[in-house]
């Protein structure tokens, strides 16, 4: 394996007026890793993803992708380099068919040579996420779980090296989450590096090899899932200082 990280973020900050949405965040993703990014609402998770993919430029800091400085790239450049993301709020092309949606990803960011090739590849990706039977329906006609999978198929069609999944499981019921978990495992098995941004602890804890915790724009903790959830700082961020204190006493007393 190559020791150089596929994605490296160094001292990344972004201020909106007086609010530091992301404050001096540094981390690295290694090839083939699944890393979870968690944090309470408003912690800056989505802003961080926006900074990495060039949707908003950072106030300071840098982003390195495959050893190359890509700090001020545009989103379409990120996509062509192999940095794909899904949106927290799904973003399909509503009037196009499901197949065309995925073909667009294959054509513009993936390796498809033409429309026909793109559609052939799109069919494979739709079969992979379990949407093949809906290929010719308009994207707007899909129910929410279907749209989430469409979003995933579209990102996969872009042949990413790194996939940033921004709350792909939000709004799904537990059965659907289990299916999504299985899907993410199979994506990781293809060797794609995944950063999961997620509220559902079940997803993060079962899938991630490593977890990063963001709170008020700062990276307050990182490590393997089991130790991160025990970290008093993390408990405090989620449940408040009183609860963290109580937990500390409980652990001390055995």
């Amino acid at each position: 394996m190559n020791a150089q990280p596929i994605l490296e973020v160094k001292g990344l900050s972004r201020a909106f007026g007086g609010v530091k949405a992301v404050n001096d965040v540094s981390f690295a993703l290694h090839r083939g890793e699944i890393v979870g990014l968690i944090g309470p609402n408003g912690a800056g998770k989505t802003t961080l993803v926006n900074l990495i993919t060039g949707v908003v430029p950072p106030s300071s800091g840098s982003v390195l992708f495959d050893g190359q400085d890509v700090t001020y790239q545009r989103p379409w450049q990120a996509a062509r380099r192999g940095l794909a993301r899904t949106f927290q709020i799904v973003q399909p092309f509503p009037e196009m068919t499901v197949l065309e949606n995925v073909a667009a990803g294959a054509l513009f960011a993936g390796r498809a040579a033409n429309r026909a090739d793109a559609e052939a590849q799109a069919l494979e990706h739709l079969a992979f996420v379990g949407l093949a039977q809906d290929a010719h329906r308009p994207a707007a006609a899909l129910p929410l779980p279907g749209r989430k999978r469409l979003e995933l198929a579209k990102s996969l069609a872009m042949r990413p090296k790194v996939l940033l999944l921004d709350e792909v499981n939000a709004g799904l019921n537990s059965g659907e989450v289990d299916q999504a978990l299985d899907l993410m495992r199979r994506i990781a098995a293809q060797g794609i590096t995944i950063l999961i941004i997620e509220h559902l602890m079940k997803v993060v804890l079962t899938l991630s090899q490593r977890v990063l915790v963001l709170h008020q724009g700062r990276l307050i903790s990182s490590g393997d899932p089991a130790s991160v959830v025990q970290d008093p700082q993390v408990v405090e961020a989620y449940l408040g200082s009183k609860f963290a204190e109580r937990q500390r006493r409980m652990t001390a007393n055995g």
């Binding site: 996509a79 973003q91 399909p92 196009m96 513009f108 429309r115 329906r137 308009p138 707007a140």
Partner: protein, 320 residues
Amino acid sequence: MRSSAFFILSMLVLAAAPFIADNYVVRLCTFLCMYAALALSWNFIGGYAGYPSFATAGFFGLGAYAGALTQNLGFWLPLPWLFATVVVALFAAGLGFAILRMKGHYFAIGSISIVEILRLLASSWAQLTGGGDGLNVRILPGGPDYAGRVFLYSMMAVMIAAFITMLCVDRSRLGFGLRCIKQNEDAADMIGIDVTSYKTAAFTLSAMYCGTIGAIYASWVAYIDPSDAFSILLTLKVPVMTLLGGPGTVYGPILGAWVFVLLEEMIWAKFLEYNRAILGAVIVLLIFALPGGLLRMQWRRKWPSSVFGLPGLNRLKESR
């Protein structure tokens, strides 16, 4: 395939017009070709990319003046028209980078201001353009019958060129990318579409044939002035034509332009005093009754959607 047969047939009828009909009909046919070419042009930016441009008259007028001025320098005829095409295409490409940052209503207002700015420029720069007195253009020698044919076939050639360009774009990566941009620009950016370049390409395509048409128009009528060349009415009519026929389709703009011009001609002939009001009411009714344009009416279902590139068609099927 019925629509392509209809298209070829109507081209033959237009081409035969000078041999079977009088000069009034030839003149009307020239207008049919002219407006169809303008509506096809608008379709690139308005129909495919979904940007409501009202800059048509700006490009048309700029082309008219660029063509007329070079023609008066004594250049052989198609040359001023080609020159006008290039000037307008470059102008639009440069302007696109600035104006395409705006969206929706802001873009619409920004684009209409181009028409006004160019009109003011043409009327103030009297040394070059003759200002409000207008500009006489050298008359094509050979008599009215000959000139009528030349201008009909020239307009027709531009219309066919615009149509072929549209067919190519419709099937290409560019057309697909523009449809993505129309539906969700942020998502289009995210899947690797260079939205700025794509939009600029669409804007330039929407402008260049307007420039050619403007230059041919100037040679045809042999006199232009700022309010005729940069007419607000023209800038509004052309999008209405495309919307009437079916925006984002390849045949829609032609159909819309022809229905509009023929309606206008009939209403103008019958109701001299109230023609504008009646035409306005008819258009409002048509647009309300047919939100997707004439081409998306129900009987259209029978035809394959890939030919028309109708994104809305499958949804219609779905809901039925």
